[in-house]
Symmetry: C2
Subunit: 410 residues, 2 copies
Amino acid sequence: MKCNVVAVGTELLLGQIVDTNSTWIGEHLAAAGIESHLQLKVGDNLGRVATAFRTALESADAIVVCGGLGPTHDDLTREAIAEVMGTELVQDDGLVAVIADLFARRNRPMAGNNLRQALVPIGATVIPQTRGTAPGLVCPVGDKVIYAVPGVPHEMHDMMERAVIPDLLARSGERAVIESRVLRTWGESESGLNERLEAVITELDTVGNPTLAFLASGWEGIKVRLTAKATDSVAAARLLDEWEGRVRSVIGDIIFGVDADTMETVVLGALAARGWTLGVAESVTGGLVAGRLTSVPGASQVFRGGVVAYASEVKFDVLGVERGPVVSERAALEMAKGARRVLGCDVALALTGVAGPDEQDGQAVGTLCVGVVLPDGRSEAARLMLPGVRDQVRQLSVISALDFLRRRLG
Amino acid sequence: MKCNVVAVGTELLLGQIVDTNSTWIGEHLAAAGIESHLQLKVGDNLGRVATAFRTALESADAIVVCGGLGPTHDDLTREAIAEVMGTELVQDDGLVAVIADLFARRNRPMAGNNLRQALVPIGATVIPQTRGTAPGLVCPVGDKVIYAVPGVPHEMHDMMERAVIPDLLARSGERAVIESRVLRTWGESESGLNERLEAVITELDTVGNPTLAFLASGWEGIKVRLTAKATDSVAAARLLDEWEGRVRSVIGDIIFGVDADTMETVVLGALAARGWTLGVAESVTGGLVAGRLTSVPGASQVFRGGVVAYASEVKFDVLGVERGPVVSERAALEMAKGARRVLGCDVALALTGVAGPDEQDGQAVGTLCVGVVLPDGRSEAARLMLPGVRDQVRQLSVISALDFLRRRLG
């Protein structure tokens, strides 16, 4: 089964927004075992959109078209699909009722052009919206098919997972379910992972199911994705459980989470499970650790606050660090102890280091000293060397420090 | 002049990396007045790459091909271009010398496959590298042309600006230089900007030079880009100066910077110019304001630090906020005063608000209270309502609060 992708919108060609939708669709098609050989971006011009659809369809069994389903005269995906199908658009009364109802519930008047979203090519079926107004479409073209989904990312994700990928699998004659599990790792390179998992990978290559892929996620570590094909979800889960166990038996030490887990949700969860509150003291990261922890809804149950001690005087005066070199394990520990006292938290995490561009106190760019104090008074500090320039050093410092804390909550 | 874009690499189709190169190329072609109607992504397969080149070239005068110029057997751009040109690859002795010299200077042995990068289709000319090993190519195909540039972003940017865009302009018979200036705005919608600037836009439509475009940049506001065409740089700068003045006379109040300026560099610069230091107190943004300020190299000259007062107790105990509702203008002012005292800074900025998912103290999601205290003791607070859900509210809070401070440093 081959499925190409077309993203519609002049703003994509002009570079005003980055086309992350095609990236998402490509990743999810690949995870479902569906090949994608060509992805196109085209502007809001009826003739060019229709040509792009024909081009993309030529070398595939199906295409996913993303965007151009809104209510304005620039939204031409419906018209272009009708042209490629050689048919007309008709108003779908069911959709009219749904859209009118949506505006009524929001107490907003409905401009007439919203009814454009109720137009459907003859012969197409509708993918109902659950999150917005623009419905999706499944449009047969001979023995091929065009799927149209909205360009709003969370609406597109929902329709892809709920309707498009299952329909593609059904059309491919695939009677199996395909399910993935992502193991999130931190602290090992891709080649290092590859080496450690070599025996598992060789065995998987022989059995062929599940498959294993590494997805590099930059500052977020490397994801190990297992994708299993089975007759039903229960059997797929059993396969994934078995091989997750095999992978964990080799690299369990660097797996910090599964699927939607992030380093910050894992750290907050581990603290919540122990009933402990957290505070941070940051120098090199200047607030990024606190900012990341508070990105999690409900963080306030665990996270009390932080001190961004950027100037050395703030380290000395607010946190009680003893005067002297401020990029050191001693300073990190004293910062953590100071944060625990000032913020009244059970656990404190502190970071001090050198992000660059220049070295500081004779310490090289990339130096990170991290300190942790736990409720029983136990404390620990470490010194790490991180690669890269300023922004990278700061981001790597955030996740490295959170992982350092996570390992001490085990 | 029409120029399409092809990005080459299986990892792009698999969604392992986002294709930001095409976005950058699209933006820079548009700024140079060159139309781009179609952009493609294709995997590392010789037949499909060649087909993609032919498809993209069909509806354009030129194409830019990005990626696939490396030394490995997966790098097939050279071969595919030779196929489309109907010619062969030959080794360019000049390139062999350049590549060998590069390895020699780095004291690294050169693997034989690096010589693949010295292969050039007969009839093509080379764009010399200044930053890496893979040279670019200018390849005539009848009266059309294929430009090949590396996929490494900074190498690609350099070749596009140095060689490809000037060559495209020369081919289009354009003897002019094209230069842009970006005015950064915050606090007005795109339609609002459009309305306020209507007279200027109408006049520009008549004179035709410079052109004016709005670039929405999400949480970073809207950019107003002026692009001037002139016989030389001096004349272009004169045109840009004149029309920047015209635009400023209408919307000068919301322009916070020019070109590479960001809200944080502008705020830090204004403080540095007055010799004032800054501290922040954050609740709703949880460290993001401090994180963003410290992303600027040299921020330590101005920025002393911050208190992330996420729990109410931290607001009361550390910052001395009077017990009571913590999402209020009063609380924001007391947080700012407390931060100034605790951090020993001249100026303090404080934020308290509701990011959601739930309302707090009867205050709706999107509420932001911001407070500023200046060295002369003047203080000011305001209440804003920001749209969106958690992450958006937090990011909009950061830039809104920095802009609030910026306006008080004027």
